[in-house]
């Protein structure tokens, strides 16, 4: 940072003002010519003009040429939000030989023309005030020089479902180090629980497991399974991450996955998480046969040694001597340049729709439970039976939009449930061609590649698609069957039908376990509580936090092809700073006027980044800013009783000049 550099005090301030029409977006509401004319008469303004599209090449050329022609040394651009085009215009200034910090933008589109569309006169007056305010600030702008930092060439990927796996493999194949953290004992996520994938009917495990196996084998991937992110500090290029590796009580290196420990474990009645409680597991377990890593884990909450202080049978029978009850939780610190969030989703809790009787009737199950019943590796070995009596179902109903498109629960569409139920209907027909299958829907959304064709095929197979939302599921006394009440909206009548099994197509909801990482990184959420991307169209995998990226259902419900595409996109974005090797940090950081500082340490106490410190030399210690740690928040500036601290780009004089200009009565402004 070149300190203390100011525009030469004797140098005359020459401001150029450019008012954008943005086609008709601004000009239809605001009289841009009037605003430009008004600006041209303000003190220190040398040149003012309006332009159809300031961001276009001719618009930028006008700025560059005007800077040279009129010898401008400050630029004010009134157009869209600075969140949109500030980087564009900073480059325009640089191209004309001006320091990029000598720019002030005025937001007359998002915060003026678009929100006052029916009040052109008042909007024009407001635009004039805002432009005057920016000119007042521009007069006080000083050149600033960005700081550059080296980037640690590695990425942290949080979550190892298909999204995290794909992103990790892509980054690792590009040659960057990846730390892949998964909280469960195995990687694989929800995709590992699926039997088949729509519309191609690929066996989910068959296409997923090769990728899962590639992960720990890859020399660039450090897989930290059964682990959680404890804390994250730092900023893009230089994140410091602390990861807690939970104790498995079985040595990962020694364990050969022979399974003798689980076989001999006397506690065998624990509901299997992987099978959603439809099957049982032992207290020593692998979640599913193809788990990666294949290491067994002792579940501390159910193990007799941990609960009652007896047993340790596994320790005695393990041929590899891998059981280690003395194992402790470990803390691992890693340095990374970028972070990818791939924490996935939770299935909507169908108990929140008690009218469908999930808790009352065993034969009412969720779509993911149905998936486990279909799976050859599932609790029934792939035999489709009614949970209540083990008999094959003959009449199955699928209820769509359970916890989706529903004002009582979640208003959004979960995007996968229509196709999942169509796939399930097909699978039932495949196993039992004479079974009756009905799908109760609001709208069927078969939007992806090959989806509509698959839907047509399943219609041909004789599945009934009934347009109408199911209202209730109940059981007649002494009946084995379930009665479904629904409105057939095509016939316009309420009907009842008996089924022996009802599958609830549960929606997707944000992962509750992702909350700590959201708080750690201060990531924004959408109104639906999924993670918010930086821009819905143009920056779909970035977040507002530089160096942090999103992929998979953490960002919103989506199917596997979209997840994989987004994961590769996130990996690509996350590799950009790593490939560049350095990041440029905002130069708008604090500095302390040593003559004014009294060493009171108030600034120290308000800075959460430890970026400002009073040097402990003697009693005349003065505060100093650590430029690498300062994040431009300005808390210390507002707190300093001696007004000794200045935030570059947001100085007290500049902000005061802004509101003073805004508060000048309108008549004085003309």
């Amino acid at each position: 940072m070149q300190k203390g550099e100011k525009l030469n005090d004797s140098q005359e301030i020459r401001i150029g003002v450019f008012i954008c029409h943005c086609g008709t977006n601004i000009a239809n509401t605001i009289d841009v010519k009037k605003v430009a004319e008004y600006a041209s008469k303000l003190p220190e303004v040398t040149f003012a003009s309006d332009e159809r599209y300031v961001c276009s090449e001719p618009g930028q050329a006008l700025i560059r040429d005007s800077i040279k022609k009129h010898n401008l040394n400050k630029v004010v651009i009134a157009s869209c939000s600075p969140r949109m085009h500030e980087p564009t215009f900073r480059k325009t200034l640089e191209a004309a030989g001006l320091n990029s910090s000598l720019l002030e933008m005025v937001n007359i589109r998002e915060q003026c023309s678009w929100v006052h569309m029916h009040e052109p006169k008042k909007a024009t007056e407001k635009a004039k005030a805002l432009v005057a305010s920016a000119i007042a600030k521009a007069g006080l702008l000083e050149p600033l020089y960005p700081l550059k930092f080296k980037v640690t060439p590695s990425t942290l990927v949080v979550g190892a479902g298909i999204a995290g796996i794909q992103a990790s493999l892509d980054l690792a194949n590009k040659g960057f180090k990846v730390y892949l953290v998964e909280r469960a004992p195995s990687i694989g996520g929800h995709m590992a629980q699926l039997d088949k994938t729509f519309p191609t009917l690929d066996c989910s495990a068959c296409i997923l497991t090769p990728k899962m196996v590639d992960v720990p084998r890859h020399p660039n991937i450090n897989l930290l399974s059964y682990s959680e992110v404890k804390s994250v500090d730092g900023f893009i290029g230089n994140f410091k991450v602390v990861i807690t590796k939970k104790a498995r009580y079985i040595n990962e290196v020694k364990c050969t996955s022979c399974g003798v420990c689980a076989e001999k474990c006397p506690v065998k009645n624990i509901p299997s998480e992987f099978n959603l409680g439809l099957g049982k597991r032992a207290a020593t377990y692998v979640p599913f046969p193809q788990a990666v890593p294949p290491t067994y884990t002792i579940d501390k909450e159910n193990c007799l040694w941990f609960t009652k202080g007896v047993c340790r049978v596994c320790e005695k029978v393990c041929p590899a001597n891998a059981v280690d009850f003395s194992q402790e939780e470990q803390e691992i610190q890693v340095d990374v340049g970028t972070i990818i969030i791939a924490t996935g989703y939770d299935l909507f809790d169908v108990k929140q729709k008690p009218e469908y009787g999930y808790e009352m009737y065993k034969d009412v199950i969720s779509s993911l439970e149905f998936e486990r019943l279909l799976s050859a590796a599932g609790p029934t070995g792939g035999k489709l039976v009614r949970p209540s009596n083990g008999i094959e179902p003959r009449k199955i109903a699928f209820i769509q939009c359970v916890g989706s498109r529903d004002v009582q629960t979640n208003p959004y569409c979960s995007r996968i449930c229509c196709m999942a139920s169509i796939k399930h209907a097909h699978q039932v027909k495949e196993k039992h061609p004479d079974a009756e299958v009905s799908v109760f829907y609001i709208d069927l959304r078969a939007f992806g590649k090959g989806y509509e064709e698959f839907y047509a095929r399943v219609q041909q197979e004789g599945v009934n698609f009934v347009r109408g939302k199911a209202a209730e599921v109940y059981k007649e006394p002494n009946s084995d069957n379930l009665t479904l009440v629904f409105e057939d909206t095509l016939l316009g009548e309420v009907q009842e039908q008996e089924f022996d099994m009802v599958v609830l197509a549960a929606g997707l909801v944000p992962r509750t376990t992702a909350e700590p990482i959201q708080k750690m990184l201060k990531l924004s959420l959408s109104p639906d509580n999924f993670f918010l991307e930086a821009h819905p169209k143009l920056r779909p995998v970035e977040t507002q936090i530089a160096g942090v990226y999103l992929c998979g259902c953490a960002q919103g419900p989506k199917d596997i092809p979209d997840v994989v595409a987004q994961a590769s996109a996130a990996a690509s974005q996350a590799s950009i700073p790593l490939a560049k090797g350095e990041v440029v940090a905002e130069p708008t950081i604090a500095y302390v006027d040593q003559d004014l500082c009294c060493g009171c340490k108030v600034c120290e106490s308000v800075c959460v980044y430890d970026a400002i410190e009073v040097e402990a030399t003697d009693e005349n210690g003065k505060a100093k800013v650590n430029e690498a740690l300062c994040t431009c928040c300005g808390s210390c500036v507002a707190a300093c009783p001696a007004r000794a601290i200045t935030l570059r780009g947001f100085t007290s004089e500049q902000i005061s000049a802004q509101f003073e200009a805004l508060l000048k009565p309108a008549q004085q402004r003309d």
Partner: protein, 141 residues
């Protein structure tokens, strides 16, 4: 006599409320023209002096918009603001100026609707309250 048009200064943080105001724009949600926004990176940057000065210079209301508790981009900037705003309000009360002229709201980047509604209700409230009593003096100056 023309109807009283309040002038409201908004101080909004870059990450949440400024972005929320942008979203109101992108979504074309209409609200009164009375507000003029000054962008700061964090509401923690807002010096109590700014609020007092703006009132002294005739602002009829000050709207401060920051991130929801727990969501501050800088961890605790919004908490500091809350304390400072409380202090300013009690100071205003003792000076005989309505503390309602200063309002603090948490509005996230996805709450464009809330931003527009907040501006509307604040403008209505200030209209009810009438012009800033200090304005005359500042105009005389």
């Amino acid at each position: 006599m023309t109807e009283f048009e309040p002038t409201i200064i908004g101080f909004t943080c870059n990450w949440c409320t400024y972005a929320g105001a942008d979203l109101a724009g992108t979504s074309k949600i209409q609200y009164p023209t009375n507000i003029r926004i000054i962008r700061v990176m964090c509401t923690g940057r807002i010096e109590p002096e700014f609020i007092l000065d703006a009132l002294r210079l005739g602002a009829d209301g000050i709207l401060i918009g920051g991130c929801h508790p727990g969501d501050c981009h800088y961890q605790e900037g919004n908490y500091k603001t809350e304390l400072r705003v409380r202090l300013v309000k009690s100071l205003l009360t003792s000076l005989g100026i309505e503390p309602e002229r200063v309002r603090l709201e948490w509005i996230s980047a996805s709450e464009g609707q809330k931003f527009a509604e907040t501006v509307q209700s604040f403008v209505d409230e200030i209209r009810e309250l009438g012009p800033n009593p200090l304005k005359k003096n500042s105009e005389l100056k």
